[in-house]
């Protein structure tokens, strides 16, 4: 099939309370662009235990932000707060504000389901739906959006697979079970599935933790590509990876944000001693 890449706005899910355009700045005002996603004083609990403590952090559009820190530092918990997946864990709750284009996704009346359609997520282990074909997997997120004609869906599937650098490997077997693919391919399939409904933000939770080196390289290249269209947040255990893919790095320790800054600065001249100790490999 040869189709031009689909114009990206067509596939959008319906506008919801959480995704009205950001308030326009005063005409002529040349201030810095507001962040696509901003966390304000966010605290997250698992039952009595605090996972994230009073974190404020901004994620500018079209950048890759890496969240790093030792196990249990709250980086994954914070990530899961960004698309309201955290609250699905029994006993888990969060307080504070998470602003997507200036609108709080935790505000009363905001539907978490709509939030998750705007903020996609890729998990540690590849999670293709085993009963679905490759094409059905990519189209899975479209099924809960507005109804699209079959032809349009196929275009979106192809476009998403191309952007996930998987099209050439699967174009002849779109109707095969997704579980036929290798682990690395499955993870790229999951990326394709996440970007197909055109979210604003993509969250990646240690996306290469279960992949071999070549699979890891391909995902890292993909992450670099994705930031041209999306705002990307990636949790990683691997500091080299954070260095390779991210523009901004945030270091967490014991649930608190210790330091955030441009990635090169974080790895060469961190200001906090804990950050320095972690990035130089003295603990964690």
């Amino acid at each position: 099939m040869r189709t031009a890449p689909a114009p990206r706005r067509l596939a959008r899910p319906p506008v919801t309370a959480a995704r009205h355009p950001a308030p326009a700045s005063a005409p002529g005002a040349a201030g810095p662009e507001p962040p696509r996603l901003a966390v304000e004083n966010l605290t997250a609990w698992y039952g009595e235990m605090t996972g994230v403590r009073d974190v404020s952090l901004q994620f500018p559009a079209n950048t890759v932000t890496a969240l790093i820190g030792p196990s249990g530092c709250g980086k994954s918990t914070l990530l899961r707060c960004l698309n309201r997946m955290h609250e699905l864990v029994p006993g888990a709750r969060a307080e504070g504000r998470v602003l997507l284009d200036g609108h709080d996704i935790y505000e009363r009346g905001v539907n978490p389901i709509a939030v998750r359609r705007s903020i996609g997520m890729v998990f540690q282990k590849p999670t293709p739906f085993p009963t679905m074909t490759i094409a059905q997997n990519v189209a899975a997120g479209l099924k809960v959006g507005p109804r699209l004609p079959k032809r349009r869906q196929l275009e979106i599937v192809e476009h998403a697979l191309r952007r996930a650098a998987l099209w050439d490997e699967v174009k002849d077997r779109l109707e095969h079970p997704a579980t036929d693919l290798s682990g690395g391919q499955q993870q790229r399939l999951c990326v394709a599935r996440t970007i197909a409904p055109e979210p604003e933000v993509i969250l990646l939770d240690e996306p290469t933790a279960s992949l071999d080196p070549s699979g890891t390289t391909r995902i890292e290249e993909l992450v670099q590509d994705l930031k041209r269209e999306f705002t990307v947040v990636i949790v990683t255990h691997n500091m080299q990876q954070a260095g390779r893919v991210s523009d901004v790095t945030a270091f967490f320790y014991l649930g608190e944000l210790i330091e955030v800054g441009p990635t090169t600065q974080m790895f060469t001249a961190p200001t906090k001693p804990q950050t320095e100790a972690y990035v130089t490999g003295r603990f964690g």
Binding site: P13, N83, M85, L88, P90, I113, A114, R116, R117, G120, M121, F123, K125, T127, F129, P130, T131, A140, G141, K143, V144, G145, P177, T179, C190, R193, T194, P197
Partner: protein
């Protein structure tokens, strides 16, 4: 003897023991099948599957009425019990965390352990006596009571086997909770659920006691579910106790047909499970 030799002998002994235990486990089935084949296969002919009972003394009678009766009674029981059981199993696995779920699970397990004759008496008390007559439908209801807890518990097990990561993946795509359960989780567990249902249906197909008080049995071909109806286990029970050699032969043949039906269902369940494994 060196310790290595001791270990080798001990290993061989234990391996042999497990082979022996496996052989003993299949021995009863092999013996039953062999006996049924010897005693019953001779009476299996076309008439057996197409004709109904004939007066004593005549030859050429068959069990068609009992076979059809079993298919109808078990079919209706499955139609009633499978949806309830599958629904309850999905509830238990996907939403069942509170006290209600504990109660449902406890009741299902208790129901699983109740002797089937008690279920028969229960159905007689609550269906047959108030309506004043034995009906095939009452038999189906009694069998459904046995079916529901088995199906519910196997469905729950199968749904629980679906990794949580798949649920999260669907939820993260913006699937509502119910849709995640139905389109992703239950579909993934689908083959396992189907297998469990087939095993449960095979189990109730051979039940005799619950039918004694409900469907009662019938010497004539009947498809009216509001009347007494014949069923294979009932006919075997009656014929095996009868005074005539012809009846005994037919009872053996009926038992053979019944066990073959159960075996076929079991094999289909296995094939479904294997197809599932091959795909996963």
């Amino acid at each position: 003897m060196s310790s290595r030799a001791t270990r080798r002998v001990f290993g061989a002994f234990m391996t042999g023991t497990t082979y022996g235990a496996a052989a003993l486990a299949i021995l009863p089935l092999a013996a039953i099948l062999a006996m049924l084949l010897v005693k019953g296969a001779g009476s299996l002919d076309w008439n057996f599957f197409t004709k109904s009972a004939v007066p004593v003394g005549e030859t050429g009678g068959g069990f068609a009425y009992a076979i059809v009766g079993t298919l109808i009674i078990v079919g209706i029981a499955a139609a009633i019990g499978v949806p309830i059981g599958v629904g309850a199993g999905i509830y238990l696995a996907e939403f069942g965390a509170g006290r209600l779920a504990w109660l449902v699970r406890f009741v299902a397990d208790t129901l699983n352990g109740i002797p089937s004759i008690v279920i028969g008496i229960f159905a007689w008390t609550w269906i047959v006596r108030p309506t004043g007559k034995f009906t095939a439908l009452a038999g189906s209801a009694a069998l459904a009571c046995i079916l529901v807890p088995i199906v519910a518990r196997t469905t729950e097990e199968m749904v629980r086997l679906v990794p949580n990561s798949l649920r999260e993946a669907a939820l993260a795509l913006g699937y509502p909770r119910w849709r995640t359960s139905l389109t992703v989780v239950v579909r993934t567990a689908g083959t396992g659920i189907v297998t469990g249902c087939m095993v449960a249906v095979a189990r109730i197909a051979g039940e005799t006691a619950p039918l004694l008080f409900t469907a009662l049995g019938n010497q004539f071909f009947s498809t009216n579910v509001l009347q007494p109806m014949a069923a294979l286990p009932l006919q075997i029970y009656v014929y095996a106790q009868g005074p005539y050699d012809e009846w005994h032969r037919q009872a053996w043949a009926g038992a053979l047909v019944l066990i073959l039906m159960v075996l076929i269902l079991g094999t289909l369940a296995r094939l479904a499970a294997r197809a599932h494994r091959a795909r996963a």
